[in-house]
Amino acid sequence: MTSVEEARAYEPPPPPPSPPKLASVWAQPKGWRQLTEVNNTFIGVLYVGTGLMFLVLGGILALMIRWHLAQPGGTLLTAEQYNQVFTLHGTTMMFLFAVPIMEASSVWLMPLQLGARDLPFPRVSAYGFWCYLFGGLMAYSSIFFWVAPDSGWFLYPPLSTEYSPGINNDFWLLGIGFIEISAIAQVVEVVVGIMKTRAVGMSLDRLPIYSWYVLVTALMIGFAFPPLILGDILMEIERAVDWPFFDAARGGDPILWQHLFWFFGHPEVYIIFLPAAGLVSTILPTFVQRPLVGYTWVVLAAVATGFLSFGLWVHHMFTTGLPHLSLSFFSAASMAVAIPSGIQVFCWIATIWTGRPILKVPFLYVLGFLFIFVAGGLTGVMVAAVPFDWQAHDSYFVVAHLHYVLIGGMVFPLFAALVYYLPLASGRMPNETLGRWGFWLTFIGFNVTFFPMHILGLKGMPRRVYDYPAEMGWNELNLIASLGAAMLAVGIVVFFTDLCWSWFRGPKAKRNPWNAGTLEWATALPSPDTGFRSIPEITGHYPIWDDPTLPEKIDRGRFYMPDSPHGDRETLRTGTVDARPEQILVLPKPTWLPLLAAVATTVCFGVAIFKLYWTSLAAGLVGLAFILIWMWRSEVRSPDEARDIGLGVRVPTYSVGPRSHAWWAMVLLVVMDSTAYGGLVFAYLFIWTVSESWPPAGIEATLDGGLALVTAALILASSLPAAFLGNADRHRRRHLIALLLAAMLALGIAGGWMSLALLWDSGLDPKRHAYTALVWMMVLFPLVHLGIGAVMAAFTLVKAWVDPPRYRWSHAARNTGLWWQWSVAQMLFSLAVIVFYPDLA
C-alpha cells in the first residue's frame, strides 16, 4: 500500500466532463417530472431527509414527555394524551426513524461504495421510499387529532385489543404494518445489490466493511419483520372480525403476541445498531489514516451478532413467569451477544492505536459513540442477568439503558456520517465550529438526560407513568433529566443548523476532503447522478490509498463501461464471491409507476383504518394494476445480446436462473415469507402447549381426513407442472409452458376450492376459539399465496399472448414456478399439521 501521507499529497485533477450520452441517460428529469426519478442519488437524499424529519417529529414528542415529567403533577398533558405521546414517540423513533434512515443511508451510499451506478431494482427503492413517506405521515398525523396509538409501541393485548375499541391502535397496525412491507422491499434491493453489483475485483474479502454490516442487517430484517407482520395481521383480524388469537377467555394467549413481537423486537435493536457500527468502521479509519485493524474479526462480529441476536427475544419477557431454565437460555444468549460487541470495540480501539487521530467533528461523534455505547452495553449485560432484570425491567433503568444503546449506538454514528458525507452529497464542507458546539451540547445533554434515569429506575420509578408521587425522592432526578433534554435539544438544533447552512453555503470541498481510502470518495463532488464515470477494478479494502491516482483513472474512463453507447442506464453485475464481470444490468429509466403504486397502497391501508374495506380493496387493486404495468415493462432484453464493456470484455445483457438478480430477489422473498409462515406454525404449536387437551375441550367439530387427502393430492399435483417450468423455459418451449401454467392453475384452483370446502364442512367457527381461528389461518395463509401465484401465472400467460416477439420465457415463468412450489409446500404442511397433529398430540 502506498503510504497514507503520499496519498494525501496527491490531489486528482478536476474531472473532465462525462460523455454527453452517459450524462444524458442519467440526467434527472426537470420540474414535476423529477418525482419520477428512481436513481438512488435522488431517492437516497430524499429518503435520508425524511428519516431526519421523523427524528425531529419524534424528538418533539420526547421533549413533551420530559417537560411533562419535570415535576410531579405535570399538567402539560392529560393521562390519555401522555399515553399517546409516549407510544408515538417510541413508534416514530423505532419504525419511522431508526430503521428507515439506516436503509436510506444504505440506498444512498451503497452503490457509491460498491462501485455501481445504481442498485439493481431502482423502482423498488423508489416505491419503498414513497410508501415510507406516506405511511409514516399517515401514522404520525394521528397525534394531531389525539387519536394516536396509546397502548405502548409494543401493543400488548388485551390492552391493545379488547380494551382499546377506538381506531388509535389501527393507526399502528395498518400504518406501521405498511411501512414494514416497504422495509422488506429494501431488503431485497440491498441484499441483491451487495451480492451482485460490485466493482470488478471487489471479492467477498474485499467488500467494504459497511457493506458487510448492511448485508447482515438486511438479512436480519428479512427474518425479523415477517413474524411481526404476521402478528400485526393476526391482531388486526382479532380487532376487526373477532378471531380470538390473543384472547385468553377463548383459548388464545396474550403471551403469543409477546413472542411474535419480541422475536422481531430484539433483533430490531441490532438492526438499528449494526449499520451504525458499519458507519463507525468506515469513518474511524479515515480519521486515524490507517486501515481498520481486524477486518475479518469485525466481519465475524457482525455476522455472529446477526445470529445470536435472535436468541435474545425472551429477555423482554423475563417477568412473564416462563420456566426458569428457559429464562437461563435467553440470559446466556444475551451474554454471548456481548462478545462480538466487545470484539468490535477492541478493533476500533486498536485502529485508533495504530494511527494519528484527527479530532474533526465526525471523529468526535465516533468517540462520543464509543463512550455512550460501551456504557449502554455494560448495562445491557446487567439486564441480561435474570435476577437483576426482575428489578430493572420496565423501570427507568431500562429507559436509560435503551437510550444509551440506541442514541449512543445509532444516533451518534449517524451524526458522524451526516457530517462526514456532507461533502459527498452537497460538494460543500461542514462548519467545524458549529459542529463542535453541536457535538458537546448533544453529548453532555444526552448524559445529563439519561444517566439519572439509571438511578431513578433502581429507586423504583416504573416506565410509562404520566405522573409520580411527590414524596418518592424522584423529583430532583426528573428535573435534571428534563433540563438535560433541553440541552440535548439545543445541541441537535445546532447540529442541524450546521448541516443545513453548510449544505447550501459551506465552502466548496476539494475532492476526497477527508483523505479517505474507500471507493465512494473517488467520485467527483458532489457525487454525480452517473455515479462513476467508469466502473473501476480494485485490489483491496482501501482502493484510493492503494492507488491515489484511481480517481483520475476513473475520470478518464480507463475502466469498464465508460459510456452508454446504447442509451440505457446500465450497471455491471459481477460474481458473488470473486467479483468478475458477468453481465450488464440494464436499469429502468424514470417512471411515475412507483409513486402511483405507493399512493394506491397508502389509500388501501389508510382507508382500512376507518373500516372502509371496499374502498380499500379497490385501491389495492389499482395498486396491483400499477405494479403489473411495471412488471410488464420489464424484461425487454434478448438473451442472445452481448455488449462490450471495455478493456476487451464482452458480457451478455440478460441471465436467468440462479445467476440472475431477479431469481435471487424471488428466493429472498420466499425465505422471508417462510419466517412469517414459521411464525404462524409457531402460533399453532404455542396454543397447543397452553391448552389442556387437543383439540381443546368443547370443540367437537373435526376436519375430514379424506377430504384433506383429496385437497393435498390436487395441490401437490399442481406443483408438478410448476416444477417443469424451468426446464421448459430452458428449451424455449413456449406452448409447453403455456400448457403447464394452465394445468397448474386448474389443479391449484380445484385444490384451493377443496381446502375451503374442508374448512366449511368442518363446522369449525373461527370466532369460537384460538384453535379454530388458527386452523382457518393455517389454510388461508397458503391459499392467499396460491392466489398471488395465480395472478403471476395469469400475467405470464397474458404477456405471452399479447407480446410474444419481445417476450422471452424467463423471470416471470421461473419465478412463478418458484413461488407456486413454495405455496404448495405451505399448504401441504398446513394440512398435515391441522388434520393429523391433533391425533398425534
Partner: protein, 130 residues
Amino acid sequence: MANPLAADNPISIVLAPIVWSVYFLFVYVLNSVACTKGFVGLTLFGFGIVPATVVIATLVTLAIMVWLAGLAWSRFAPVRDTDDHVHSADPELARLARRRFMALAGLLQAGLHILATLYVGLPALLVPEC
C-alpha cells in the same frame, strides 16, 4: 448450492451460527414443552429428562463446533501469513487471501459459538427447569 463445506464456499462462515441456532431452538422448545405438558419429572440415566437431554445436546453441539473449528484451522494454518495478498492484483494471490479470510472467519465463528453454547448449556446443571 455446492458443497457447503468447500473451502471457497462463503456458507462456511455461517455454519457454526446455524448449528448454534438449531441447538438453541431445540433446548428452548424442549424445556417449554416439558414444563407445559408435564413430562418434566421423567428421568434419564438418573437425571431429570431436561437437564440430561440439554447436556447431551450441548456435548453434541460442542463436538460439531470443535470439528468445524478444526476444519477451519486446517485451512487457515497453511495460509496464515497471506493477509497482505488482500491487496494483490495477482488473481492467484488474491485467491489465497480470500481463502484465508473465509478460513479465519469460520474459525472465529466456531470459537465464539463454542462459548455461546457453553453459556446456554451450563445453567441446565444449576437452574430448576420450571
